[in-house]
Subunit: 223 residues, 2 copies
Amino acid sequence: MLPGPVEHAPDRLARALAPQLTTRLEAMILDGTLPPGERLHEQALADRLGTSRGPLREALRALEREGLVVSGGAHRGMAVRRLEAREEAELYDARALLQGFCCALLAERATEDGIAALQARVDAMDAAIQAGDANGYYRQNLDFHEAMLDLAGHARTAALYRSLVKESLLTRRRTLASPGNMRDSNAEHRAMVEAIRARDPETARRLGEEHVKGGKRRWLGGL
Amino acid sequence: MLPGPVEHAPDRLARALAPQLTTRLEAMILDGTLPPGERLHEQALADRLGTSRGPLREALRALEREGLVVSGGAHRGMAVRRLEAREEAELYDARALLQGFCCALLAERATEDGIAALQARVDAMDAAIQAGDANGYYRQNLDFHEAMLDLAGHARTAALYRSLVKESLLTRRRTLASPGNMRDSNAEHRAMVEAIRARDPETARRLGEEHVKGGKRRWLGGL
DNA sequence: GGTCAACAGATTGTTGACAACATGCCGACA
DNA sequence: TGTCGGCATGTTGTCAACAATCTGTTGACC
């Protein structure tokens, strides 16, 4: 102890403000605090987040590259991106492709333990459906897909997939929230894991692609 | 005419400094002016580019999200990213996936005129090979792939593909420069266009994937 | 009544200065 | 002689003020 620099939390990550702001703004956009089309006023946002315009601008520009905000050009301000139907459809296409690839990789590389963990998550989702716990299902669904990305061991694919999901959450309609949709979706999960356990890459790929395309159909149905 | 606001070039794009800097830095990184591992000193770079640190920092952070530079953490500076072999291999995998998808789309959607244009580019590349014009081949190869992306009409796939190519250019070995490699590569191009003209999406997809995987093999061979 | 031009206000773009932190060096001590 | 603690330097992080530009409004003129 003694004097010392007041060791107020070691803060090993000690990130600068801009990256923190990027994360916070991302969360505000994805949870609807900043809805699509919302104008992003630099001074107002800086005040709101307790910082100045410098770091805030850096964060905004990072989000621009990420596809969450768009700039209208010089002196014309930024706004939360509003996805058009075509763009959203394309996101599903790209995600389907990556999901298929991920499943094929898993069929080739996944450890038995990893497959068992995936299976457990599918069972847990079934339980959530039975209990009518739509929120729990939603979270576990994200976890399930996250676990697949981890197990596949392909960092680039995982990063691409995550960024696509982030973008698609810009207009997050909870199309999965209906019990029927949840049941369909989890049946697809089960089939995917089945193919992975059978070490059948081609079937796993097809089912992975179909799963996301199924999501696209459910989205189109609820449009 | 008359007075008017001096219409000194409409400058319709009138971009701000930061986006311009992003482009310029990107070019400097990709053409080797700023080699991988190079430390990016903010003040020095700002002076060199004739601006101040503010816009430069915004540009650097954008490039960070793009995967061209890495930050060592707060107060530790940025540097041009150095790709590890594994990362480079993963880039090939992801590109293969997208190229295959793109070819499948083309087999389904491409206009006859578009296909003819692709064919013309393949012929032009053959001519460049015959002439021993490696530089010309290199440029036309980029153009050929760019034309495929345009014709496929899938903006998201195109954007992903371009960003992957950009990253892979971080360590650009001209593996294609050998006449044998160029010949192999262009034979693959020809087969791809053939499958597209035949309106055979599955074959086109397979050949597209194989083409990039062929590039990966050629890269591994010259490692 | 409609259109165009000038103006006022507000917002973004840019800059330079100040503060906080990491790195490397030097000297003291075991 | 090797290692540790403190210090000096340089670099990044942050901020507030200034300049340039866009937008909406008002008024005049056709």
